[in-house]
Symmetry: C2
Subunit: 293 residues, 2 copies
């Protein structure tokens, strides 16, 4: 009974581990025979931003490991200004946990970190799920000054999580209703919550996005060497990281399946948690070599 209750991001205790001269905050819950699933979070997101409707179903069948990168939530240190350094922190964290091989769910910024890890140390990752993210050299990545995003970010009515409903979900009745349900699920956790990210976090991560947008060498060529079976997921109406970035990712990763949802924006995984977790679990359980869903 208590095992079931704690296999949830609504109730799992926050833990800390020392490594790399940092103290990293994380949550680890669930069980099963599959490799643990490391979850890497979006821009300014903390452990508390993982929707239990996504994390909890995945925790039956495997351990789910939620991770705050350096300087996020209660993890110590400075927020890095490059994806490469963030990937370094994630790998140091896995080393500290003695996890030699895991699956990765990377959402948005987390998807960029996952890609970097897959290149830096291919053996540490078995399968990847990349949601709402972009390859290095992608296009129109997290330009919050765009009118379609700025109007929500500057609106004083959008305090706290409510801005996520506006920018993670499409401007339709159905998608906004799903966004409202998502926010309510994030609020289910009452105790042991993370401090929200401040402007310094946003500033450093935006710097990292600008660096990630830079094309280096033959555009997207580096993806062709990433052989990990990968599931790329996106919503068609993402203004934060437009869907063409997912096209480029999945076209150039040799073993990637692409799944794009209707009526959805950046937070497609949180809009359709039943569908997303069903596909994610199927994909993670499969032994097909190309990443066929």
């Amino acid at each position: 009974m208590s095992a079931i209750k704690t296999a949830s991001n609504t109730s799992a205790p926050t833990k800390f581990i020392e490594a790399n001269n940092h103290s990293y905050a994380y949550r680890r819950f669930g069980n099963g025979s599959a490799p643990p699933l490391l979850c890497l979070q979006h821009f300014t997101g903390t452990l508390d931003n993982w929707d239990p409707a996504v994390s909890d179903p995945l925790a039956s069948g495997r351990e789910v490991v939620l991770f705050d990168n350096a300087g996020i939530g209660r993890s110590s240190g400075e927020v890095p200004q490059t994806v490469a350094e963030m990937a370094g922190h994630a790998m140091a964290f896995l080393d500290a946990l003695r996890l030699e091989r895991c699956d990765v769910l990377g959402f948005s910024l987390g998807g960029m970190i996952a890609q970097h890890m897959a290149k830096d140390r291919p053996s540490i990752i078995r399968r990847m799920i990349l949601v709402g993210t972009a390859p290095r050299g992608g296009d129109d990545i997290m330009h919050l000054e765009k009118p379609s995003l700025a109007e929500h970010l500057r609106d004083p009515r959008n305090s706290g999580y409510s801005v996520l409903q506006k920018i993670f979900f499409a401007p339709t009745t159905t998608s906004q209703a799903a966004g409202e349900a998502f926010i309510a699920r994030l609020m289910q956790r009452k105790d042991d919550r993370e401090p929200p990210s401040g402007p310094n976090v946003a500033e450093a991560q935006i710097t990292a996005f600008r660096e990630w947008e830079r094309v280096t060498g033959d555009r997207f060529a580096d993806l062709r060497g990433v052989r990990h079976p990968t599931l790329v997921v996106q919503g068609f109406h993402d203004e934060m990281i437009p869907v063409r970035n997912s096209y480029w990712l999945a076209e150039n990763l040799p073993n990637a399946t692409l799944l794009v949802y209707p009526d959805a924006a950046h937070g497609s995984l949180f809009q359709y948690p039943e569908s997303f977790t069903r596909h994610a679990a199927t994909f993670l359980s499969s032994d097909s070599h190309p990443g066929v869903l």
Copy 2:
């Protein structure tokens, strides 16, 4: 026992129905409570080109109806030179069967016919699965004169079905092996086979592709009024109808999910029949309004 045996495109008898001053050849097998699934075939394809590994699993749960359009196989009449006329034949055929509402699986040319039917008579279709196809005004549709296709079509070693292995599958060892298995499955049917399509079929259908490529009015705007839940499926390496056509389709259809397979070309559904039929059956069984897989 005999019911199980005949619920297969390897053994189902070819039937004929008179309507619209034509005699249409078809096969109908399987059963279940879901609406029948009308299957609309590719360029020059006949009833015998439906892979039993795709048609048969879908026939548990619903009736599968395979259809030869006018002038194809043993259906009488001339092959139309427009998708619009082909859609007219398909609807006359459904009327003759007294099927007022069905699901549609349209592959390649068949996907164009399905789109036309959905606009002409929305009520006749409940859900659509569009594989390896393009919207009206799409790009680079079935240009068989392209070197990447012409080299296979002109190669005298590629007689009969073996050309399909080359042009429906990617030029990799894994995809070509899947293509070989596909051809072997098509050959399992021994009796009551269709005559192969001749040059007159190809010529008329190519004329229809050229007409379908023409942009009329605001490009893709007509798709926004097609509200049917739709699953769009494609392989990343399709030289016959490149994947960008599936992007446009699914971006503009308001209720479409997009699924794109790795290491696959035009015949993605035949390369991954287990995955494709699993997703198709899930999609057809769902009652979600946007076409969420």
